[in-house]
Structure formats: structure tokens, C-alpha cells
Subunit: 244 residues, 2 copies
Amino acid sequence: MRNIKVVVSYDGTDYYGFQFQPSVRTVQAELERVLGLITKEPVTIYGSGRTDAGVHAAGQVINFRTQGSIPVERLCLAMNCLLPPSIAAMEADEVENDFHARYHARSRLYVYSILNRDVPDALASRFCWHVRHPLDVDAMRESARVLIGTHDFSSFASADRDQTSPMRDLNGIEIRRLGERVEIAVRANAFLRSMARVIVGTLTEIGLGLRPGLDMKRILEAADRRQAGKTAPARGLCLREVEY
Amino acid sequence: MRNIKVVVSYDGTDYYGFQFQPSVRTVQAELERVLGLITKEPVTIYGSGRTDAGVHAAGQVINFRTQGSIPVERLCLAMNCLLPPSIAAMEADEVENDFHARYHARSRLYVYSILNRDVPDALASRFCWHVRHPLDVDAMRESARVLIGTHDFSSFASADRDQTSPMRDLNGIEIRRLGERVEIAVRANAFLRSMARVIVGTLTEIGLGLRPGLDMKRILEAADRRQAGKTAPARGLCLREVEY
């Protein structure tokens, strides 16, 4: 059996998330359908992680095993001919047999885009959250610092999360203003369900002056989802990169 | 009656074009619905021009007449609260009574985006045409020059166009490579139906070496749609700006 790793990107707008679910459109189902056609075998793919409905990816990583003989150099072209335009295969490599896109990932980088100006941008509406009032990026940056390190991130996870450990290593969080856009880049070994979006929602409330920056430490320590801010909309979030 | 001009932008992907048509989703119908709610009157809008199904706009201009008293400073905010995210009002002004968005427009600028690289970009798939093989931008630029000026553009218009004059003033055409993107900007006093897209389709065939650059003069002079290249897909085209 060959083990093949593929970097894929997708516009998540029209999908019910990455992970397969019966009778709705998912990224996983599209990829498995297309790889099944190419290899003429039933294919199961493993993704570096689930992305929620509406979340995008520029660098999601998957792997799958196959007895098919298609050269990796031609795999992306074959996939892109069969995939809808909202999903693209960027790069394919044959990898060692034990490689697993999820278990071997060392870190994930998510980037959240906010359009911070008076009027919305219809042409960017699928890829950013429109926040009208000016954000105090310095206050957001200052309060974000306490999140760096190994912590129990229960305050920033969907209440309905799986019963796994809520401990995660947050390696870095960078908040930049690029003209009318504010970008929040968060890197962690792994993310709890909705974690990136709850962090962004909370930081935005701080940036708008709706809660004091000092709140962040208290929220983190509370390990209670009710203490944090609202979950930012899915459309602003993009899985940029996975490191192995 | 007040006469109000509004600059609007839209992601045309999910619309059957700008112009009202019964029982399908159009940009005009959305704008008239929302302005009707705001002014509490039936509203008819006039656009600077129709855009085809799937074509976008960053700077479409409309005007409408109303007896409503809403201050123009608050009109965009009111519209954006009621519009879907795929349409945004950018700027509103009260204008002289005889102003007409279509008849008074001096020129329109359309920009067409091509992604010219091996792999497609899922995140840009709604806003550009993916052309895999390298385009010779110099050849495209050279051949485009003969289009500048006042000509019969019948070769570059949909066969089903209205029975108006096929003469148009093409003021300029700029073709730029920006890394993996090629942008074609065309400014004219007005455009025949599909004109920008047939010009782009023909230039792309020249850029791919599928037809000689010298062909352009012959095509223009033939005044025959069958001589030109294929119509480029709607998704790469955007109405950038209208001048008055």
C-alpha cells in the first residue's frame, strides 16, 4: 500500500464542514469521491483536523492509502479536473507508511480576517467578518498574551466538545492591522472545537471596549465557556498551514 | 422628488445578473426590495449598466427617486442592515434631478482576473478564471492595441445583442501580470453585451499561442462574432468603476 499526503484548499461556504456526515455536502466526502474515481478503490482520507461548517482552508493536509499506481506528480491535476472549483489539490507527495495527517501534526495555524470599517465589502463577504466600529488592536494584542503557553482552554471551547483533555499549547498569537483589515493568526499544537473563533470573538469584544483587557486572564482561569465572548462567525476563519 | 445616487458592490455568483427578471434572484430586485422597505414606497432603480449572471461589481452606480426623507448619510447603513452580505451599499449622494446612472455615464471600467498557474485556487475560484498554461502577456498587450479607439465591436458581442449601434469607444486596455495573476482592465464609453468577456477570451487564445496576435485586426474588421475567441467565464469579471 502507498501512503499519499495531499495539501488541499477549500472555500468552506457551501460545505457542512470538513468531516463526513451522511446526506450533507462535506469536504471529506468530495475528496473521497474523487480519489475513489481516480484510484478505482474505496478511499478513506484522514485530515489534519475538522474544520467547522463555513470555515475555509488554504493548507489543510490529508493522507490516504491506496494500491493505485497513479504517479504523485499527476495526482493534483487529476483531482482538480474532477473536484468542484471550491476545492483544490495543491501538492501531493508519497510519504512513509506510518504518516498520519492528524496524529503527526505538530501545529496548526489558523488566520481570522476582520474587515474593520464602516461599510461592508460584498466581494469579501465570504472570507471576513465585518466589524463596523474601530478595533483597538493594541488592547487586543496586550490581552492575547496571557493565552500563550500550555493551558486548559475550556473557556474557549464549544460546550458540546468531545470528552478529551482541554489542555492545549498555544504557541503564538499575532494580531496585525493591514489598512482596513485586522488579521488574527493563532498557532497551537491543536485546537478544541471552535477555539479559534471563541478567542477571536473575545478579543473583538476587548478591541471594541466592551470588556476590559484584563478580563482575559480571569476568563482563561475560569475554565468556563460562559465567561468568554461570543463565537466569531465561521466565514472569517481559514486553516492556513499544518506543520509536521 | 429627491434623486439619489448610490455606489454598490456585489458578489454576482448567486445572482442571475443585475437586471430584474421575474422569479429569479437579481441584484436589481434585491436593491429595489430594500429601498422599498426603507422609503416605504415602491422604488425603481436605474443602474449604469447590466452585468451578466455571475459577473461582480466593485463600483456599480445606481440612482432612484424618492419622496422619503432618510438622510443620505444614513442610507448606506440602513441598506447594509437589510441587504444580504453579497450586496453592499458603499456611498450615497443626493444628485441633481436629471442625473441618470445609465445615460450620464461617460465610461465604465471592467477588470478581468485570470489565475495563471498550474494549480487552481479554491479560495479565489469565484473571482478569477484559472488558466493553467503560461500566458504571453506581451503578445496579449501588443494585439490589444488595435482595439483602442472608436470601432464597430460586433465581433466581440453576443450574437443575441439588442439592435442598437455596435459602435463603441474603447478608451484603454491594460494588461498586467501580478505574480500568478494576470489582470486585464478595459475602459470604454459603454460595452456591448459580453464584450469585455469576448475580448478577454480572444486575448487569452493569443496569449496561449492558439492564434497569432495579428489576428486581432482581422477579427475587429470582420464585424462577425464567429471570428473572435470564446467568451471568458463570467466569474473573472468585475465592474470596477463608472465615470460621470
